[in-house]
């Protein structure tokens, strides 16, 4: 198939994401607020129990929180809004008629939407929480640089896989939306799952010990938690390569499973609307 069509879908959503500059600033303020509250909570618990031996140091937990906050819009919180609208109004029929592979068409749009939202925000927040905070004398609360050049490289590869993984999970929400005919359900399921399981709510390493292995092996860890841990140079069960392997495994598994599911749903799709 012509890759150009998918590039067009990507370009369109990417531009939509960049369009809303005020929303980017508003998001920045919100992320700083939530980040600051989490940081004060972590500082309070760490200082009160200095010899617990948590798997992350306070400094690492702070950097983890800033990176997580800056990548909030990269999380698969729900379906692609365009797909939601299409399902609700019945315009989904146009997508079915296009001479393109539906999965790749929606996937490239979903990926562009995530990146178009996340990249400007992440760059801005990283500047504010990193160098600017350090200059303002808040160095102890700031975003630390990567642990080593090697960690930076691994993290970069892992962030790229994470973005793809997130777009693939958005595809599952898209298919679900095509099934339920309303985008709201996908947000209701997607947001809590993504916020909890990606480490947005609490860094995954800080959950109770019995849950640690399961938490690394589930697909949402591959979006931001694994890349951030590689960035911090923190320990990962199975080592850095094992962690990348987990990301690739879920990418392949969810693509295959999702495509099958989509075919079933599309075959018996009832289109509503005019």
């Amino acid at each position: 198939m012509k890759p150009r069509a998918y590039l067009t879908a990507f370009g369109l959503q990417w531009k939509i994401g960049l369009r809303y500059r005020i929303a980017v600033v508003a998001g920045l303020v919100a992320q700083m607020w939530f980040g600051a509250i989490s940081l004060m909570a972590y500082a309070a618990v760490y200082h009160h129990a200095p010899d617990v031996g948590a798997p992350l140091t306070l400094r690492q937990a702070m950097t983890y929180t800033w990176l997580q906050q800056s990548l909030f819009t990269l999380l698969p919180l729900g379906c692609l809004p365009a797909v939601g609208d299409a399902a609700r109004t019945g315009a989904i029929i146009y997508d079915l008629l296009r001479p393109v592979d539906l999965w790749n068409w929606w996937l490239s749009a979903s990926l562009a939407r995530l990146l178009g939202n996340a990249v400007p925000r992440a760059v801005l927040l990283a500047c504010v929480a990193g160098p600017l905070a350090a200059l303002a004398g808040l160095g102890a609360w700031s975003l630390a640089p990567p642990a080593s050049p090697g960690a930076a490289l691994l993290a970069a590869a892992s962030f790229a896989l994470g973005a793809l993984l997130s777009a693939t999970i958005v595809m599952l929400w898209n298919v679900m939306t095509a099934r339920t005919l309303s985008p709201l359900g996908s947000y209701a399921i997607g947001t809590p799952l993504a916020v909890l399981l990606s480490g947005m709510l609490l860094p995954l390493p800080l959950y109770p010990e019995w849950a640690r292995i399961v938490l690394v092996l589930q697909p949402f860890a591959g979006i931001t938690d694994i890349p951030i841990r590689l960035y911090l140079g923190a320990s990962l069960p199975g080592g850095p390569l094992g962690a990348l392997g987990v990301q690739i495994f879920w990418l392949v598994a969810m693509t295959l499973g999702g495509r099958l599911w989509m075919r079933r749903i599309i075959d018996r799709l009832e289109v509503q609307g005019a």
Partner: protein
């Protein structure tokens, strides 16, 4: 909702609100599958928030010296209060996008009823029942876990919750009033709603001084949550405020609501339509 528009001009404000609320409930139940998913999602999301706090306790034993029971009471109070305001105040949340930008607000101004009442009737949202139930559950567990719960809790719990709901409703009304200036809704205000819930579930002592001041005298979150909780738990305030303050401080939520209603009136008076 539009078919609930008064056919009979003599309908009282309350009766009109009841009709609008009923129409909204029926509309929300029109897609039962989605409704069920939303409600479950709301319950689970909000309960997960507490799971995060609980995990911190598992690992570190306390949050800055506060035990799990006290934090659960704070968490429960702020979540129940917020869920009530979320249920009532949906019209204010969507006000910028759905009323000001489109010019729909002009139509509300033509109706012979107060605009605040009509916007309250925009939607009686059922989804926050999930947050309400889990907040109530955590609140109950916290009171059960805490070592000294005073009898005043019997009336302080409802008093703090109504004060908190009034405060959050005030935030939503203030957010809507801001839309007269900005046209589109500003998501920054989420810092005061969702961000307020996030901040309210932690003990006030944990925050830096500037934030403590803001959360007490700017947005009176401590007045509707932290201080009443101290009074219920007979827990002396490490910052030195007398316990009796918690018995009257929920009134600050109503003062805040009154202030925001005043801002709203000013906004309506200076409203210039943007619709076609």
């Amino acid at each position: 909702m539009h078919n609930a528009k008064s056919r009979n001009a003599s309908v009282s404000g309350l009766a009109l609100y009841r009709r609008m609320a009923w129409a909204s409930i029926v509309a929300q139940l029109r897609y039962p599958g989605t409704f069920f998913l939303q409600m479950t999602g709301n319950f689970v999301t909000t309960l997960l928030g507490f799971f995060g706090i609980w995990s911190l306790f598992q690992r570190f034993g306390s949050i800055g010296g506060w035990d799990l029971g006290a934090v659960a009471v704070l968490y429960g109070l702020v979540n129940v209060a917020f869920s009530v305001s979320e249920t009532l105040g949906r019209g204010f949340e969507v006000f910028g996008g759905e009323y000001v930008r489109t010019g729909q607000f002009d139509r509300l101004l033509l109706r012979p009823r107060p605009t605040l009442l009509l916007l309250l009737g925009h939607e009686l949202r059922l989804r926050p029942i999930g947050r309400f139930l889990q907040g109530a559950f955590v609140l109950g567990a916290g009171l059960w876990l805490a070592p000294h719960v005073s009898w005043s809790a019997v009336w302080l719990v409802p008093w703090a919750i109504t004060g908190g709901a009034a405060m959050f409703l005030g935030v939503l009304i203030g957010q809507a009033a801001l839309c007269f200036k900005t046209v589109e809704g500003l998501e920054v205000v989420n810092v005061l709603t969702y961000g307020g819930v996030e901040a309210g579930q932690y003990p006030l002592t944990m925050f830096s001084r500037w934030l403590r001041r803001f959360l007490t005298w700017g947005l009176p979150l401590a007045g509707v949550c932290y201080y009443p909780a101290l009074a219920m738990l007979a827990h002396p305030d490490p910052l030195g405020m007398p316990l009796a303050f918690g018995m009257v401080s929920p009134a600050m939520g109503f003062v805040f609501l009154g202030l925001m209603i005043w801002v709203w009136r000013k906004g309506v008076a200076s409203y210039v339509s943007s619709g076609s």
